[in-house]
């Protein structure tokens, strides 16, 4: 099975407090720790497991710039066979459809049985996988939390739905799946693994290499545009308990008793 995983480098929200920059037009990015988008990492792990069981290879691709190469290398250290960076000044300002158009051009240069994305990026919109599938006329399933390969070029796929219930579907290959966190336990990647792939060449493809129409992506093609960042109004906000830890605990116990949370 030839599997393509679309990944993204994002600010790691478990490592960062996200704040506005001085101008209010972006988040403050200077001190941010970036990493591979968490659901994308689960998608790579799922691809590796499928290839280990059934043969084939895993390719990881991202749309971005030279800084984004580090996540491709990380996923190669994890076990992905190939990677590609789709990068061009003309891609800047792309909306979700633009990114999906860039990825479609890359998909059509290869031959993939299965395309995986993470379910959503922290700074994203859970949209590119479904758009890509529609552009390719492949079937799509989102929020996937289990995959089983069946005979005859089909997958049995479990989707997470309301209440923790699972919706079981059968999809014909090739197809696109968006992978939910918790589907597997992504393997650990150590520094040694990263070093081993440090010098592996990763091709960069732009508009011309991809044979992309110039009006297919980028700012001019984007119908959806982020205008600013702002911090939402606090509403009433919480009453903050401050002071010595033991004092705070004592006050909290009194409050919980008053609210019927304790006898």
């Amino acid at each position: 099975m030839e599997i393509l995983v679309c990944a993204k480098r994002v600010p790691d929200t478990s490592e960062n407090e996200i704040e506005l920059n001085g101008a209010g037009n972006d988040i403050e990015r200077d001190e941010l720790v970036y990493s591979v988008n968490e659901p994308d990492n689960y998608a790579v792990e799922e691809a590796l497991k499928m290839v280990e069981a059934a043969g084939g290879s895993v390719t990881v691709v991202t749309v971005g710039d030279s800084e984004d190469e580090e996540i491709l290398r990380r996923e190669m250290a994890m076990g992905a066979n190939r990677a590609a960076l789709l990068s061009d000044d003309a891609f800047r300002g792309s909306d979700g459809k633009g990114v999906a158009s860039i990825l479609k051009a890359f998909v059509e240069k290869g031959r993939y049985d299965l395309i995986l994305t993470g379910v959503q990026a922290d700074d994203g919109a859970a949209q590119v996988g479904g758009m890509l599938a529609a552009m390719l006329d492949y079937p799509f399933a989102s929020l996937v939390n289990a995959v089983e390969v069946l005979e005859g070029g089909r997958l049995k796929v479990s989707r997470e739905i309301e209440g923790g219930n699972r919706e079981i579907n059968e999809l014909d290959l090739p197809c696109v799946l968006s992978i939910q966190t918790g589907i597997n336990e992504p393997r650990y990647v150590g520094m040694r693994g990263i070093r081993q792939v440090a010098s592996v060449p990763i091709p960069t493809l732009g508009t011309s290499e991809l044979g992309l129409r110039v009006d297919a992506a980028g700012q001019a093609a984007a119908k959806v545009r982020r205008l600013d960042y702002f911090v939402p109004e606090a509403g009433k906000g919480a009453e903050m308990l401050e002071g010595d830890r033991e004092e705070v605990a004592a006050r909290l116990v009194e409050l919980m008793k008053a609210k019927g949370g304790l006898n």
């Binding site: 459809k97 758009m131 529609a134 079937p139 579907n169 600013d228 919980m256 609210k259 019927g260 006898n263």
Partner: protein, 333 residues
Amino acid sequence: MPRIFAFIVHKAGVADDSAVELAAAAARIDPAQAPTAIVTGYGLELDAVCNGLRATYGEIWKIADEALAYPNAELVRQALVAVVPPGSILLVPHSHFGVDLSPGLSIKLNAAYVPDVVGIDGLDDSALRLVRQEFGGQVSTHVRCEISDGAVVNIRPGAFQPAGGASLSGVVVDKSGELGTLKTARRYLQTIPVDAGDVDITKYRTLVSIGRGIQDPENVALAEELAQAMGAAVSCSRPVVDAKWLDKSRQVGSSGKTVKPKVYLACGISGSFQHLAGIKGNPFLIAINKNPKAPIFRVADVGIVDDIIEFLPALTERVREECCAPVQGKEQR
């Protein structure tokens, strides 16, 4: 002004709460227009849903087909592409189904797509101005969406309160005849309910709920000790289940259980809307988080900025001093 449609999610003959919320969102775009509902399905349940919508929508477009008896997003998409006029604005709930349907639908309609919208500023220069959140709700953004070719806009459940305006008497229009043959390479097989688990967190009046801030599986015991001292149960947010530190049956949220406790301690939980969607009944919400900017503090009644690894043992000790030793019969039912 483009025509506004709302896609209605329904179950067992009853429209989802999102049906009135989408009508409220439509009024934010164009207060002068009575929006049109689109309902797909089959049989008597579909008719019941359509009739129930007549008070809220000016027109209800009914799309009946046996293949639509279960809402397979790929088939629903084909049905919508067949009936939705070019240039329309289509509102869809940003649910497990909306996430499945809308991105591909926007491509097939050649329309813009904006997911998970929490606010609508209005329409100007043939563009919608919308509000979204990023980074788990830590920051918000204004988004401009061109609607010259129409738009699919996914609306966050609970973000728009029903307007409660005059009751309409909408007409049901049968659009089933406009469908071609529906077919897909994705076939629905069955729905498997979640396992019951060892503890039913929906039955406790106090929940000690842990999130990513618990950091290590060994620290789960800190929450267990507090819960035991209080006669509470330990619940959690998604990352704890993803890491397999607690069973899925302990998860609170749109993808887990819906709970109605009296007191809810959110410990190291950032407060994503998916998590908050599982907390009903307006409990006394206590947030303990070392990040003072965590979104949970915006909705909590009481907030404490501290590391739960340090704070939970201190709280447990204090609870024990209050002689709240665990006794039987603390469950609500």
